[in-house]
């Protein structure tokens, strides 16, 4: 695509420079997060009454709302991210190597946002440690919520390890171009590094990737997260085996969208046209289309099964989907994106980076709204639907809405911060881009290795 050849300097640019835009973005993100933290403090002081939630039943409301909807949305993005990066490594999809690390970082950021939501959602977050960990050995056998906390923690650790392993290689080789003020971080990251480990690490990373892919349907967004809902027979809109695959498609569509947006942002900020090429965007868009198709396909399954000759409760839950804007909107959005992607395959000239970004925004919005609808509709259409006179009224309060902006701010801040410390595009990717797309790995290493030997000795 580009005539420029990718260099180390390219991937070091975010670390070595700061711009006004950076500060503005930082400030905006910090403001969003700060505003929410203030809201949260107020919530801690007043209780969850500050939200728009109430009890379902005679309480006339819904007991889970935007907090839980946003929680699963973030977990979805996070899980999709790690699956994406694992697929790149496992299946040797070298083309996407420049965005693999972004996907991994998105996983860490998404999991942090999700974990934060768990705390925000609780009535007594102060008891998280004593009550949850104290009974963990018992509750882990039963409670899907404990399973969730477990896998979120497990995946955070797994992803962090995964990331740390691949970063060692880069940091060691780029060490003398990295800012001294982070030396302790780099020392920690490269602790005990020796070149001999490269191959072992490569293999370890491959195995971890394999584990992630294998466990994805079971433990990630295809498993425990949907089980939070899918195991409850009293909500026809939640109950059933389709939620696993359905959630997985949502995770993947939203994660790909997230990666598209992140990649576009970084490419724009650091002139990485030759690293994160249009080709990558086209490819990501195609994958997005594929998962959008799966997403819609599984929605269709639910609509069909729920309206052909349903039980009374299931029928009511499905009927609402045909009319509720919170459901119809997202479905049409995803359908539109799918149509656009389909069109670009027929007429490639329809593709632009901007359009890809718009598609990403639409999908992310759609998945968020669909998740919100999904959570709310459970309480709106329970099997025991007798509480008609006290229906589940709900509108997110100002604090709940600010939580969404706050967590987005948190994720932006995370990237802004991380980009100043480590290369968000891995060295391997640069080496690979410079090589001949084949087995160019070994010779490509040579110049880098030479340049990195010195800092090794110094350290």
């Amino acid at each position: 695509m580009s005539t420029k050849s990718p260099t180390e300097a390219d991937i070091l640019r975010p670390i070595q420079n700061v711009s006004k835009t950076y500060f503005i973005m930082f400030a905006v993100a910090a403001l969003a997060l700060g505003a929410f933290l203030i809201g949260w403090a107020y919530q801690l002081q007043q209780g969850l009454v500050v939200t728009g939630l109430s009890d379902w039943g005679s309480g006339g409301g819904v007991t889970w709302g935007l907090y839980i909807g946003a929680f699963i949305w973030w977990v979805g993005i996070a899980h999709g991210g790690i699956i994406l990066s694992a697929a790149v490594r496992l299946l040797g999809m070298d083309r996407y190597m420049p965005v693999a690390r972004l996907a991994e970082l998105l996983t860490l950021a998404g999991l942090s946002a999700a974990g934060f939501y768990i705390l925000v959602h609780m009535g007594r977050p102060d008891r998280m440690v004593t009550s949850v960990l104290g009974h963990y050995h018992i509750t882990v056998n039963n409670s899907p919520l404990v399973w969730d906390v477990t896998v979120i923690t497990a995946y955070f650790v797994l992803t962090a390890t995964y990331l740390a392993l691949t970063i060692r290689y880069d940091v060691t080789r780029l060490r003398d171009q990295l800012p001294d003020r982070f030396d302790p971080v780099y020392d920690g990251l490269t602790l005990g590094y020796s070149e001999k480990e490269d191959q072992i690490i490569d293999r370890m990373v491959w195995w971890v990737a394999l584990a992630i892919i294998i466990m994805a349907p079971l433990l990630l967004h295809g498993g425990v997260i949907p089980w939070l809902f899918a195991v409850l027979p009293n909500y026809p809109g939640w109950f059933g085996a389709v939620q696993g695959p359905q959630f997985l498609t949502i995770a993947l569509t939203s994660a790909i969208s997230g990666v598209i947006l992140l990649s576009a942002a970084f490419r724009w900020a650091y002139d990485w046209d030759h690293i994160i090429t249009d080709d990558i965007f086209r490819g990501l868009l195609l994958w997005l289309g594929f998962f959008c198709l799966l997403f819609l396909w599984l929605q269709l399954q639910q609509l069909t099964a729920g309206s052909f000759h349903p039980t009374v409760d299931h029928g009511a839950a499905t009927a609402s989907k045909f009319s509720h804007p919170l459901y119809v909107g997202p479905i049409l959005g995803v359908l539109g994106v799918l149509g656009f992607i389909f069109a670009t395959t027929i007429r490639p000239s329809l593709f632009t980076k901007l359009r890809a970004m718009i598609a990403g925004v639409i999908v992310l919005t759609a998945t968020l709204l669909e998740k919100l609808y999904f959570v709310l509709s459970g309480f709106w259409y329970p099997t025991f639907s007798i509480y008609e006179a006290t229906p589940g009224d709900y509108f997110p309060s100002a604090i709940e809405i600010s939580s969404l902006l706050g967590t987005i701010g948190l994720v932006v801040l995370f990237f802004l911060a991380v980009a100043k410390v480590i290369p968000v595009v891995e060295l391997h990717a640069i080496e690979h881009l410079r090589g001949d797309h084949g087995h160019g790995h070994e010779p490509e290493h040579e110049p880098v290795e030479e340049s990195t030997k010195q800092p090794e000795v110094e350290a």
């Binding site: 209780g47 009454v49 728009g52 006339g60 009535g123 008891r127 056998n141 009374v312």
Partner: protein
């Protein structure tokens, strides 16, 4: 009871059922049994470990009985875990797939232990063994209703047709537990049911927590805060442990949970102060199985709450007379709520649900006390009319009392609930009348009260074509009495037994006359009616609820009617809290909570 599985023990079910039987009675080695029993005592004294005990006798037991089914250390530990409460329950559920249910395991262990003289273990002061022992007792077919401690499951029978919608239960509960506005642990609603076939019965639902035996709310709780007490099956929330994730509320199919979204209106100090002269503070309680837990009264901020079925009452904090009662039950004017031990056939709810017409009658008639009767009857003649007049009873009242006695059978007065008390009152009153000289088993008297056919002294006991079937819905009690025949058994196969009895026993001698149970039942049903149905709510959800409803079951399309309330509106009733404040009831809690919502847009998605 224990005979549900013969395979577990080579000695067979007879042996299981007769644990008092000494080892001598069997073909097995008495010495071995005695030695084992002795060592079992050593185990209880801590001189020998269970594992060693097992080791020591394993071979011999195998040789003697062909298999060794005594509690192994593993099983013993499991039982101990069980008794610790939620811990064991959850563990057992986890590994329970495909295995025998907990109770069965316990039963087997209990019977197995007793069979080899291990009953001694029951003396160990430890919940696990108590539970085993309790199970043991239960197995004992003597069926003492008080049973073992572990055999209590509090629950209710709620007669929806007797409920008059006064909402007294709602206010009584809110007052007893000092609940915030809109926290209607007890909720009564009326509904329309477009899908239901037209029914004469009212569509009303009285909805406390169902205290499910297989409570999904407990299963999903990430902290064990939501737990079932082993001692009495109450499903409670430990307010000190709950993290307020609200998953229990989500998992409960009945919508009975209320989260404490903000600081409750009344402080714990005020509650404690109010209950000063009680044996506890109406908040923390110890069921004797675990440690003291804060499970009663309104929840603190950020924690889940729901109907508790008054554990502080059940644990005796409010006095012995309050054990086995709930605030709502006490407050209900027509006695539509019957609270008691669902595992006991002679408890209020079981007796009531078993024969609702009889239960309703008992709740409505007011039998005069025996003393009163004796006084009133003094000097009166012995014939029916004089007795009725002197005792100021009408014929129907007496007939109903007798009908209650006849239908009560051998279980009359069994149990220790209100129903049993009323039954005893009836028995005593009737005894007083009898001792005055009016033969209540006299066919003539009974016939006059529509409880028997007229005695027919002339006719031989032939079949009579005009036989009237008491079962026949059209049969009017009066007509029936006028018809002069009692020998209809040949024509009516369906009620052959009862009538056959009458006829055989028929004799001028009134003592031998067998009362006509069917006529008695018919009378009760005529007086009190029979419920449209007898159901448990959403049984298909597999929750095993512990509330039996009598009346119209809400169908899948049932919808609450508006305005809410039951004739009485929620906004028109109020209740008093421990701080002396009178609080107006609210049916839709959202209205209260919206006041605290930051940036309440007044719209809904």
């Amino acid at each position: 009871m224990s005979a549900d599985d013969e395979s577990f023990h080579p000695l067979g079910e007879e042996w299981e059922n007769d644990l008092e039987g000494m080892l001598d009675d069997t073909e097995y080695d008495t010495d071995l049994g005695m030695a084992m029993a002795e060592d079992a005592m050593r185990v209880t004294r801590g001189e020998l470990s269970e594992a060693d005990f097992h080791e020591k006798y394993h071979e011999e037991v195998l040789e003697e009985f062909g298999e060794d089914n005594r509690p192994t250390q593993e099983a013993y530990e499991k039982a101990q875990e069980e008794a610790k409460g939620t811990v064991g329950r959850m563990l057992s559920r986890f590994d329970g797939d495909g295995e025998e249910p907990r109770r069965d395991v316990m039963k087997k262990m209990g019977a197995g232990a007793a069979a080899v003289g291990l009953g001694a273990w029951a003396t160990v002061d430890d919940g696990g063994q108590e539970a085993v022992a309790a199970q043991d007792e239960e197995d004992d077919e003597s069926g003492a209703p008080e049973g073992g401690e572990g055999d209590v499951q509090w629950g209710m029978a709620i007669d929806l047709e007797r409920c008059d919608g006064c909402l007294s239960c709602v206010t009584a509960c809110s007052s007893e537990n000092n609940l915030d506005q809109g926290v209607n642990w007890m909720y009564v609603l009326e509904f329309e049911d477009p899908g239901a076939s037209s029914s004469t019965s009212r569509n009303r639902l009285v909805r406390p927590c169902q205290h499910c035996t297989d409570a999904p709310c407990e299963k999903v709780c990430p902290t064990t805060a939501r737990h079932t007490r082993d001692s009495d099956g109450l499903v409670l929330t430990d307010y000190d442990v709950c993290i307020g994730c609200r998953y229990c509320q989500v998992a409960c199919p009945y919508g009975v949970n209320y989260f404490q979204w903000d600081e409750p209106d009344i402080s714990t100090d005020e509650i404690a102060e109010f209950h000063e002269d009680m044996d506890g503070d109406h908040m923390t309680t110890d069921d004797g199985y675990g440690s003291e837990r804060w499970v009663d009264s309104r929840a603190p901020r950020g924690v889940m709450s729901k109907c508790t079925m008054c554990p502080t009452r059940q644990d005796g904090q409010m006095g012995d007379e309050m054990v086995g009662t709930t605030a709502c039950e006490e407050a209900c004017p027509p006695d539509a709520i019957q609270f008691g031990n669902m595992h006991n056939e002679s408890s209020d709810p079981q007796k009531y649900a078993d024969n609702p017409a009889r239960g309703r009658t008992l709740a409505q008639i007011n039998p005069p006390s025996a003393d009163e009767l004796e006084e009133d009857l003094e000097g009166a003649d012995e014939d029916l009319e004089s007795v009725l007049e002197a005792a100021d009873l009408d014929e129907e009242e007496l007939a109903l009392m007798i009908a209650v006695q006849i239908t009560g059978g051998d279980e009359m007065g069994d149990g220790d609930g209100d129903v049993a008390d009323l039954e005893n009152d009836v028995t005593e009153a009737l005894a007083a009348i009898e001792s005055h000289g009016l033969g209540l088993a006299n066919q003539e008297v009974l016939a006059e009260l529509d409880l028997a056919d007229e005695p027919d002294l002339d006719e031989p006991a032939d079949g009579d074509e005009e036989g009237v079937d008491v079962d026949d819905e059209d049969a009017d009690a009066d007509d029936e009495a006028e018809d002069e025949e009692g020998e209809d058994e040949e024509e009516n196969d369906d009620d052959e037994e009862e009538n056959g009895d009458d006829e055989e026993e028929e004799d001028e001698d009134d003592e031998a006359f067998e009362p006509d149970e069917e006529a008695a039942q018919f009378l009760l049903e005529q007086f009190a009616g029979t419920p449209a149905s007898n159901f448990k709510l959403l049984e298909e959800q597999g929750t095993n609820p512990n509330i039996i409803y009598l009346g119209n079951e809400p169908g899948p399309q049932a919808e609450q009617t508006e305005p809410t309330g039951t004739g009485v509106n929620y906004e028109d009733i109020s209740y008093e809290r421990a701080d002396g404040e009178s609080v107006e009831a609210v049916d839709n809690r959202k209205d209260v909570l919206d006041e605290g919502t930051v940036g309440d847009a007044g719209v809904s998605l």
